[in-house]
Symmetry: C2
Subunit: 146 residues, 2 copies
DNA sequence: GGTGAAACTCCGTGTGT
DNA sequence: ACACACGGAGTTTCACC
């Protein structure tokens, strides 16, 4: 039964708009049973939501970079995520082990915008930054083997 | 008119399963006009697809890491993406500027699995690896400001 | 958890402007 | 590019197992 949930999640990860009718055909369950399972998966938070995958080039954000940050004053309390939250160009913020404390993934339109963003990051969180610019992305957001 | 496309994409990025009827209400257009626009956005590849957002903890992949790789033999042809393609634990592969040639984002269940994966990466692509383990993720996959 | 059916809503296409 | 309309398809809830 857990097997069927995995199957449903795999199908929805591939096509987030697949109809309940088609999910039912694929799984061999009735439409209402599938409906019930999807609602339960959402309620449990295993399925957190559904989203459209957009082409960054075409929506005007062709530049991606990873920004590692390190506090200038290591004794100060670390609330970098809170301080950086309003910088919407930061697509992801990961706390990491290693020499730096966070890795940020950012999307911008131009090198100039990246420069502006780095200044804002340094000012907002009182950190030093180390930036790695993405040249191309062979793949991204690939579905994990559930 | 371009404004309405941006609005539609924002709505679909927030809720990938929103009905055309609701999109029509939000945008003030008719259902068929919205339908036409979404199909066009997909045909142009601006909307690349729709996907379910899954909780990595709950699907058994609680561990995330960034793996930077550098070729051991810099004179060899660089076909790392092709050689790494079958390692499905690699969620993303970015070619980057800087000291290393690629940054990989990987998801695994345990430290042991990470160790196995790193061995496979080194063997498959003939590279040295530098791994940064993610401790927590304040946010991820946030919608860019379209 | 599962089914099946009923009532409702939505989708997708055709037609017209 | 958009609006309107209509038949087919999908969704959602219900009683029952």
């Amino acid at each position: 039964m857990e097997e069927i949930d995995r199957q449903i999640m795999t199908l929805l990860a591939d096509d987030g708009r697949m109809s309940f009718t088609d999910l039912a055909k694929e799984t061999g369950l009735s439409v209402s049973a599938v409906h019930q399972r999807v609602r339960r998966l959402q309620k449990r938070g295993i399925v957190k939501g559904f989203t459209a995958q957009l082409d960054h080039e075409q929506i005007g954000l062709p530049m991606t970079a990873f920004v590692s940050i390190k506090p200038i004053d290591p004794s100060a309390p670390d609330d970098a995520p809170h301080r950086l939250r309003d910088l919407t160009a930061i697509e992801a913020c990961h706390s990491v082990a290693g020499e730096e404390s966070y890795i940020l993934k950012v999307r911008v339109a131009t090198p100039n915008e990246l420069e502006d963003l780095l200044q804002k990051i340094r000012a907002a969180a009182n950190v030093a930054t180390r930036t790695t610019v993405v040249l191309s992305t062979p793949w991204e957001g690939r579905r994990p083997p559930i």
